[in-house]
C-alpha cells in the first residue's frame, strides 16, 4: 500500500485530495451521493463574519473548457456555520478547512477570532476572491497589503493557517514569500482568474458585477506554472489547484511541487471526481513502484 498521508503544520490529511472552497458546500450534499470520507479534506464555502446573500443576476457562464462564476461569497456567516454546519462536518473523517473571507481587515479578524475557538483543523485565508466589490482579492494583489493581513491574522490564531492566493496578484511568488515570512503554514493556489463575458445580443455585460472568476480545465496550464514557480521559491507546503480534472493532472501538480491538490470545477463535471482521482493516483503509484508521493513531489 503506497503512503498517501500528508501534513501541513499540525493538520494531517489521510490523502492529498481536498475539495476546493465554494464547490463542495459544507460537505452535506455530495455526502448524500458518495462516501466522501475517502477524501483527504474539505475546504468550506468562503465564510464571512456576517451572512451574505451574494451577487444578483447570472452567477455562472460557460466558456470553452471553463466556467466563470459570480457567486459573490453567499454564505451563512461564521455563526450560522458554527450553529448549523460545523457539527456535521466535524463528524466526518476528513480534515476540515474553514475558508475565511472579508471586506475589511476587521471583518477578517472578527471571523478568525470566532472560528479559532472551534475545533477545526485549518484556516484557509481567502485573500483572492474576485467576486466581491470590497476587500476580498484586494488583499492579495499587492505585497504590502498581503503582508499586513497575514501578520495580523497569524497573531490571533494558533490554528494551522494556509493563505489562498490570487492568480491576479502583481507577483504571486512575492506574495507567497511574504506569507511564509509572516508565519503562514502554507499557501493554496490558485483562486479564479478575473474574467469577463459580454452578451452581444443585449449589448450588456453578462455578470452584474461585470467581472467574474474563471476556473476549470482552461486555467490548468497557467495554474500549474504558478504552483511550480511558488513551490520553487517557498519552503512551506503548497496546496495546488486550478482545473485539475484527472489523476494525471493531479500528478502534474504534485511533480510541480504541490503537497495537496484541491479539486473544484471537476466536481461539477463528475460528482465523484475526487474519488476517481484518488484511485488513479493509487494505481499510478502501484504501477510505478512509488511508496510515498514525496518521491515525485517537486521533481520538476
Amino acid at each position: 500500500m503506497p503512503n498517501l498521508k500528508v501534513k501541513i503544520a499540525s493538520a494531517e490529511f489521510k490523502n492529498p485530495i481536498v475539495m476546493a472552497s465554494g464547490t463542495f458546500g459544507f460537505g452535506r450534499e455530495y455526502g448524500e451521493i458518495y462516501d466522501i470520507e475517502k477524501l483527504g479534506g474539505i475546504s468550506t464555502k468562503g465564510l464571512t463574519i456576517k451572512k451574505r446573500d451574494g451577487n444578483n443576476g447570472i452567477r455562472i457562464w460557460e466558456t470553452p473548457s471553463g466556467i466563470m462564476n459570480s457567486v459573490g461569497l453567499e454564505n451563512p456567516g461564521i455563526e450560522g456555520f458554527i450553529k448549523n454546519e460545523l457539527e456535521n462536518l466535524k463528524k466526518l473523517d476528513v480534515t476540515t478547512i474553514v475558508n475565511v473571507g472579508g471586506a475589511t481587515l476587521q471583518e477578517y479578524v472578527d471571523a478568525v477570532n470566532l472560528i479559532s475557538k472551534e475545533d477545526v483543523d485549518m484556516i484557509e485565508l481567502n485573500i483572492s476572491c474576485p467576486n466581491v466589490k470590497a476587500g476580498g482579492m484586494a488583499f492579495g494583489i499587492k505585497e504590502e497589503s498581503a503582508r499586513n493581513i497575514v501578520r495580523v491574522i497569524r497573531n490571533i490564531t494558533s490554528l494551522p493557517l494556509v493563505v489562498k492566493l490570487s492568480p491576479n496578484a502583481e507577483d504571486i511568488v512575492r506574495i507567497a514569500q511574504v506569507c511564509e515570512e509572516e508565519g503562514a503554514d502554507g499557501v493554496s493556489l490558485v483562486n479564479t482568474f478575473k474574467a469577463m463575458a459580454i452578451d452581444i445580443n443585449n449589448r450588456k455585460n453578462v455578470f452584474e458585477n461585470t467581472y467574474a472568476g474563471l476556473s476549470g480545465p482552461a486555467i490548468k496550464p497557467i495554474a500549474l506554472r504558478m504552483v511550480h514557480e511558488v513551490s520553487k521559491n517557498v519552503s512551506i507546503p503548497v496546496m495546488g489547484m486550478g482545473g485539475i480534472t484527472t489523476w494525471k493532472d493531479a500528478i502534474e501538480f504534485i511533480m510541480a511541487g504541490a503537497t495537496c491538490i484541491q479539486i473544484g470545477t471537476a466536481n461539477f463535471m463528475n460528482p465523484s471526481a475526487g474519488i476517481e482521482i484518488l484511485e488513479g493516483i493509487k494505481s499510478y503509484m502501484d504501477k510505478e513502484g512509488i511508496k510515498d508521493l514525496s518521491e515525485i513531489r517537486g521533481i520538476i
Binding site: G22, T23, F24, G25, R28, E29, Y30, E32, I33, K45, D53, G54, I58, R59, I60, W61, E62, P64, S65, G66, I67, N69, V71, E74, G216, P217, T245, T265, N267, F268, M269, P271
Partner: protein
C-alpha cells in the same frame, strides 16, 4: 452510464430521448444529463418527462451546444445521468390544473401520470401553449380530463383559476408569473417550476439561487418547484 433506446425528433427542434434502465424520480424532479466527456464543462439539467419500469424519458429542445449533442445521440449510445435531484411537485388533493408553455410541458407529463393515479385528485386538466404546433397531444390526453391547446397565443387566456384547488405550472417565467397573479386573492395554490443555470445540481455551489420571500433558495435542491407566491420573478 446508460444506453439510449431512442431519440425521436418531434419537430420544431424538440426531441424525445428514451434511456434504458430502472430510474427513480418524482414529478418535477430532474437529472443532470451528460453525453460527452469533459467539454462542455457542465452537465445539463433536464426534467423527467416520464419513467417506466425499464426506461426514463426526457423531452428537450435544442437551444445550444449541449442539447445539440443530445440531439445527435443514436440508439445504444452512452449517456450519464446524475439524479434524481430537487424537490418536485407536491402530492395534492382536489381539482388540479397543469399549465405548460413551450418546453415547460416536459415535466407535466409525469405529473399528469402520477396525479391521475392518485384517488385524492378529483379533476385533472392540462393546458399547453406552443408557438407553432402542438406536440404529444395524444399522450397528454390519456391522463387529462380536459386538454386545452393554445397555439401562438397566451395559454393563460384559457385558464379560469377559480376552477382549481392547485395549479402546477412550468414554462417561461412571465407565463408562470401571470398564473400566480391570476390566482392572487383566490384559494387556488400555484406551484411553479423555476429554471436557473446550474453547475453542481446538488446544492453545493450556490450558482442557481432563486430569490424568494423567505430568502435565497437553491433552485436545484430546495426547488425547482416553489410555491408561486413566494418567488421574486426576474
Amino acid at each position: 452510464m446508460a444506453n439510449v433506446i431512442s431519440n425521436e425528433y418531434l419537430g420544431q427542434d424538440m426531441h424525445l430521448l428514451k434511456i434504458e434502465g430502472s430510474f427513480k424520480g418524482e414529478m418535477g424532479q430532474f437529472y443532470m444529463v451528460r453525453a460527452w466527456e469533459n467539454y462542455p464543462v457542465l452537465s445539463r439539467p433536464i426534467s423527467i418527462h416520464n419513467i417506466e419500469e425499464e426506461s426514463i424519458t426526457f423531452l428537450y429542445r435544442v437551444v445550444g451546444e449541449g442539447t445539440e449533442i443530445l440531439s445527435n445521440l443514436k440508439t445504444s449510445d452512452d449517456v450519464k445521468l446524475e439524479g434524481p435531484y430537487g424537490n418536485g411537485f407536491p402530492k395534492v388533493t382536489g381539482k388540479v390544473a397543469l399549465v405548460g408553455g413551450g418546453m415547460g410541458v416536459a415535466p407535466l407529463y409525469l405529473a399528469a401520470k402520477k396525479l391521475k393515479q392518485m384517488e385524492s385528485v378529483e379533476k385533472l386538466d392540462v393546458y399547453m401553449g406552443f408557438r407553432d404546433e402542438a406536440i404529444l397531444t395524444e399522450e397528454y390526453e390519456e391522463y387529462a380530463d380536459e386538454l386545452f391547446i393554445n397555439i401562438n397565443g397566451k395559454v393563460t387566456d384559457d385558464l379560469d383559476v377559480d376552477k382549481y384547488d392547485y395549479i402546477f405550472t412550468c414554462g417561461p417565467e412571465v407565463m408562470m408569473e401571470s398564473v400566480v397573479n391570476m390566482a392572487k386573492g383566490s384559494n387556488t395554490k400555484v406551484y411553479v417550476s423555476i429554471e436557473k443555470r446550474m453547475a453542481c445540481g446538488v446544492g453545493a455551489c450556490l450558482v442557481c439561487t432563486c430569490k424568494t420571500q423567505s430568502g435565497n433558495k437553491k433552485t436545484c435542491k430546495d426547488g425547482p418547484v416553489f410555491l408561486g407566491e413566494d418567488v421574486y420573478y426576474a
